[in-house]
Each structure stands twice: as C-alpha cells, then as structure tokens.
C-alpha cells in the first residue's frame, strides 16, 4: 500500500466532502418539489379516505377539489380565524403552542350521499412515534361518518394495524357525545359490543398504540367542543 502524506489526506478528504455535499444538495433540491407534492397528495388522499372515497395518486387532486369544498381555521373558543390556510396548518406545531393560540383546522366536505360532513385532523403519540389521522363527523356534530389513521413506525402486524380498513371501519356510526357531554371514542380490550356507541375494539398486541390512539381522539376533538355544540342540527 502506497504511503500518502498528511497534506494529500487533507486535500483528499476536503475534496471528497465538497463533492459529496454538492451532489447531495443538488439531488435534494431537484427532488424536493416532487417530494412535497407527494406529501400534499398523501394528505389529500387521507382526507378523502376519511369520508370513504378511495383515490389513486393520479385522481386524488381532482377528487379532493370535487368533494372537499371549504376549509377554515377555528380558535379554541370555536370562532373562525381569518387569513389562515387550513391546509397548511401543521398540527404537530400547533400542539406545542398554548391552547388559546392554537389553530384548529376544519374541512367541510359533501360526499356522494349529500351528507354535509366536517373533517377534523387528529395527531398524537403511538408506541414508537407519531400517529395521526382524519375523522369525519356528520352534520349532527356527533356521529362519526368515517375515520382514517396512519402512523410513522408502529410495530408491523400489531400497532401498525391501525391504518387498515377493518380497524377504521369500526369507527363508523359511533357517537362522540352522550347528550351534551363529550365522551369521545374508547379503544377497549376484549371487544366492544355491537350496540356500544362509544367504543371500538383495540388491537391485540398493540395496546400502547391503541391507548395512544384513544388519547389522540379525545384530546384533539375535545378542542372543537364549543364549535361542535354550537353547530348541531
């Protein structure tokens, strides 16, 4: 093996670092618009799923424009805040702020059955990382119209099952309120009974994810309490 001088080693590593940095910076910058677009499409796709509409990456944009007609941001008192784009609100950042300053996004949608629903984004913690989702509520502001969940890295086959259709289906028709009292949706072990309006089955082997999901729904929707009560019909 040839011996190299210290000078050569320094020059070699500097050139290498600069070359690699340039390459990566170029790749990242060039691919960024596509990646952001993917994230945007993914968000729209999840929202559509929460009102029971399946879409492919190609059709998502047009279906979103067709079904989701209005979006706005609420304050924690249930009043509309002007001048904020609900789609651009990042829930994770909002949750770090004090409650009075949080923006609460609401999306209004009209699926094919002409039901007027609102879509509420939710975000919380699972076992290994964040879990999030969208919950759509019927115009009585009480009955769940549909729900969709996703996660960053829950255990495959266990906690990760929250994003399967069979799990999300169980939420349809459940009630958020008992008269005027907010009770949220429980995720319980051992199976919820058929006529149980406030609970769904937990995932066996995914207890911490299930509990995190339950807390996420309760915490996030409770913030909309004022708005939901005011707009019942």
């Amino acid at each position: 093996m040839k011996q190299f001088s210290n000078r050569y080693i320094f020059i070699f590593s500097s050139v290498m670092v600069i070359a690699v940095a340039t390459l990566l910076a170029m790749a990242a910058t060039m691919l960024q618009p596509r990646q952001l677009k993917n994230l945007e499409i993914d968000k729209k796709k999840s929202m559509l799923e929460s009102i029971g509409i399946e879409s492919t990456p190609e059709t998502t944009e047009s279906l979103y424009d067709k079904y989701i007609n209005e979006s706005f941001v609420l304050s924690s008192k249930g009043e509309k805040v002007e001048g904020v784009d609900a789609f651009k609100v990042v829930l994770k950042d909002e949750q770090k702020k004090p409650l009075e300053e949080q923006y609460l996004p609401v999306f209004k949608a009209t699926p094919d059955d002409r039901e007027k629903v609102i879509i509420i984004p939710v975000e919380g913690k699972g076992l290994w990382g964040p879990v999030w989702g969208y919950i759509s509520v019927k115009s009585d502001m009480n009955t769940i119209y549909g729900a969709t969940f996703d996660h960053k890295g829950e255990t495959p086959g266990l906690g990760a099952e929250i994003n399967t259709t069979s799990f999300e289906r169980m939420f349809i028709g459940k009630k958020l309120y008992e008269a005027d009292k907010f009770v949220s949706i429980g995720v319980i072990k051992g199976g919820a009974k058929e006529d149980d309006q406030h609970n769904v089955d937990a995932i066996s082997g995914g207890t911490i994810t299930s509990k995190g999901l339950e807390k996420m729904i309760a915490d996030c929707i409770a913030k909309y309490n004022d708005y939901l009560l005011k707009n019942r019909n």
């Binding site: 040839k2 050569y8 080693i9 690699v20 990566l24 990646q35 082997g205």
Partner: protein
C-alpha cells in the same frame, strides 16, 4: 478507469462472484452479517423485497466507486471514505424513493437510512472493492445483494404466511378456509425473535447439507 478486462466479462471467476454469495458464501447464513436488518424488515414480503433491491443497488454502486478510487484512497482514512460513499448512496436512494415511490418509502421508513449500518456493505468494500477492479467489484456487489435478498425473501415469506396469514398482502390462509378448522395466526412470528430463529434454521439446514461449512473443532 475502464471496465475492460483481459478475461471475458462473464468468465467463470466472475460468475462465481455472483453465485458464491447466494449459496456457499451467503452474507447472512455463512458470514452472519446484516442480521439486524434481516430481523427488522421481514415481517411482510413487499418491504423485504424493496429493502433487498435498495441494498443491492447501494452495495453494487459503492463497490464500483470505491474500487475505481482504490489507488487514490489514503489507507489511513479508508474506512471514513467508505462510510461517506455508502452514506451518500443511501441518502440518494432514500430521496429517490421519497420522490418516486412514496408508498414504499413510507413502509420502509427508517430502515432505508439504516442500510448505512448494514455490515455487509462495509464488509464488501473493505474485503473486496479495495483490492479488485471495478467490474468484478460490481458483480460482487450484485451477488452479495442477491444473497442477502434471498434470505430476506425466504424469512419474510414464512413470517408473513404464518404470522399474518397472507402472501404479498393477499389473504391466502383466509381464502383457503384454514381458519374454519380452528387455526390461528401465530403472533410470535411477527416479533423479531422468530426471524432470528428462522435464520437459525436456514443456517442449520445449509450446514447439514454442506459439511464443508462446519468449522473443525
């Protein structure tokens, strides 16, 4: 540096570089490298296959780069240089997956980034690419990626079938009507320890068939 060799491109020696790691010199079952990711991504078939492809691309291209530069890489910082090349390749693969295969990249999540820590890569760069020409290095990379991928696919197939009752997400067990006989999915299969036990069984089988692999006492 040209890839022109005096010997033909697919000489017996080069072919051996390709087939060796798939069988008798398998990185997982014989060299016992890259076990950690083999445990992590083999719960389902699809992520296992994408992971195998990603590792193959990274190890093959890194092998070529290191092999082409091998005369110029100072010996004292060679490990750092190898790591920089691997890390660069992994980030590029990750960025491309995010841009062009968004769904798959989400399924694999952190594991693409963790290719950097896969011992097979460092092992091949240090043991092979530093001492060989680019073309054989490229074949060596492909062979090792394939050997790694083969084990991943076998383990993922068994784990998905017995743990989730499906193959490639297709609910095979349910379609066959096995659940009606009282059969239940084995939850243990989904947990990492079972992957280790399956890998162990493959090693056991391979060694019992090939006594030459058994170390002398």
């Amino acid at each position: 540096m040209s890839t022109q060799e005096k010997e033909p491109m697919f000489s017996a020696k080069n072919l051996k570089l390709l087939t060796g790691p798939v069988g008798m010199n398998n990185p997982i079952t014989v060299q016992v490298l890259g076990i950690c990711s083999a445990l992590a991504v083999t719960v389902k078939m699809k992520p296992a296959i994408v992971m195998a492809l990603s590792v193959t691309i990274v190890v093959a291209v890194s092998n070529v780069v290191i092999s082409a530069l091998r005369q110029y890489i100072p010996d004292r910082i060679r490990i750092i240089v190898q790591l920089v090349v691997i890390a660069t390749m992994v980030i590029l693969v990750d960025q491309f997956l995010k841009a062009y295969a968004f769904d798959v990249s989400r399924q694999l999540s952190v594991f693409v980034g963790l290719i950097i820590t896969n011992c097979i890569l460092m092992g091949r760069l240090e043991a092979f690419a530093m001492a060989n020409k680019p073309w054989p290095s490229f074949i060596d990379g492909l062979g090792n990626g394939a050997g790694y991928g083969l084990i991943l696919v076998i383990v993922a197939f068994l784990r998905e079938l017995l743990g989730s009752g499906s193959v490639f997400g297709y609910p095979l067990m349910q379609k066959l009507g096995i659940y009606t006989t009282g059969y239940e999915n084995n939850g243990m299969m989904i947990l990492p320890p079972m992957a280790l036990i399956i890998v162990g069984c493959i090693i056991w089988y391979q060694r019992s068939k090939n006594p030459s692999l058994i170390e002398n006492k």
